[in-house]
Point group: C3
Chain length 211, copies 3
């Protein structure tokens, strides 16, 4: 079997994460009835926030969206197209419409962010935390701008846990000497599917209780 090049897989994973988070941002902003600037801003913060924090913490330059400036144009175009489309069709996104792209973006950024940190010789725990930040910070910015409690802190249905687990799955795949491209795909799908199952079956962490 011929596995694709690691760099290409990593780029593809980032593109999937960026586009998925952009959709989640567009949905969230539309539900808040933000204007075109607001929709674009929220889409951009959701799509690029996590990777930017990761690049700042790891001191990677150029930032990934400076290196791949075509992604910025893509998200700008997506936001404008989405606003025009939803207006023309009188479609309003539901809460659900945000959850699925959010789960995909979270899972793919978790794997991608962890891999990038591992590639810079970070210890496993640090790499997994970088993946966690990549996976969650865009959503935190999105939720703050839309005036909601960020779901990474409030969602009892295993949001951050999924991103954390996805990173460790990647570490485990490397320990098992799997090819990197395969490990990336396994980890991204693991975190995404775990999150989707948590939403579908309403898996919860126990709340703090002090009765």
């Amino acid at each position: 079997m011929n596995l694709p090049d690691v760099g290409h897989v990593l780029y593809a994973i980032e593109v999937v994460g960026v586009v998925a988070f952009a959709f989640s941002g567009i949905s969230a902003a539309a539900r808040q009835q933000l204007d075109l600037v607001g929709v674009t801003a929220v889409a951009g913060l959701a799509a690029f926030g996590g990777g930017t924090l990761r690049d700042l913490l790891l001191d990677r330059r150029p930032l990934f969206w400076v290196e791949h400036v075509e992604l910025v144009w893509l998200i700008l175009a997506l936001a404008v197209a989405a606003v025009l489309f939803m207006r023309a069709r009188h479609i309003a996104p539901t809460q659900r419409a945000m959850q699925w792209p959010d789960a995909i973006g979270m899972g793919f950024f978790s794997a991608g962010g962890t891999q990038i940190a591992l590639g810079m010789e970070m210890p496993a725990l640090v790499a997994v935390i970088m993946g966690l930040f990549t996976a969650t910070f865009g959503g935190v910015l999105r939720d703050i701008v839309c005036n909601q409690i960020p779901s990474v802190f409030s969602d009892h249905r295993l949001y951050a846990i999924c991103a954390f687990a996805g990173g460790w799955v990647l570490v485990a795949c490397h320990a098992a000497a799997l090819p990197t491209a395969l490990a990336l795909i396994i980890a991204a799908l693991f975190a995404t599917v775990m999150r989707m199952l948590a939403i579908a079956f309403n898996w919860q962490l126990p709340r703090w209780r002090m009765e």
Copy 2:
């Protein structure tokens, strides 16, 4: 005609932006009846927040307020003087009192931030986004600390659009081979005046509507 040195113009533009945002921060903090520490903190965050984010993203060191530490002393002195003055005169700033310095700071930081990024060989879109961050992030921090929805996200009167347009005007002036010092002044005034007109004539972006 003898144009002044680019470095001097750029420094002057940053000083205008810093002082203008400091005034907007002092006004906002005074309206919230913050104490001296709060006024100083909000003035400092408004004045230095945008440029610090730009310098972090572009990896410029020393940060501009570390290189020009005299600006930090200036803002400290301004905040203390403003508190003493407003107390002595029993003057309370109005909402209006914040809007004009905010427009000036936004316009000048938009031009200055874009120029700095262009000077580091960034692509035009990236440079304009860096100018946008420089122009808006200080105000975002100011509004968050003062517990308001940041006007960059909520103000339907073309706040972010003005900063974005100012950056593109600078790019256009360079494309037209105007001298940099002149281009900077044109772009800064363009963004500032556009914002002032938007306030004065209540220009709005259409809100999202889902009737």
Copy 3:
């Protein structure tokens, strides 16, 4: 008298600050009835937020928690242990339970952050501001996640002033040619005790008034 090695004292001061802020974060999160993920996240943000901002602004790599990854494991273990313990004993932390570790973390991070910046040849004002950020930003993140107005902006009982004063005490000790290890301990204790006295005796800054 044999003074201990400066590096050791600086590391000890950071460990005290990290652990103290972690406890303040655990208390704050427990009062908000966050789940295990929430408690761990708040503990981590409180413990590492300030030092991370300092390292970003000063461009120090590796980040202190990447260099000392044992501290991350320690805080993870502390958070889990605290949740299990408080559940087993049905103990709910009071507001008070947060204030004392917060005061200790603030004081020690103020001295440590200022020293690190001075060691990088920063001007005194910049170094003191870096110490102030180190001392306060973790608490800001903690309070934002717990949905409270950050006490650094709202607490009229001299929160930021203590961190600021601690930094200047360190600068003064250096000017008086005291050994660095001694200066660090004096400054850390000064800021901590000043904050504790401000809480105990309810020292306040005058509020803004516009009668």
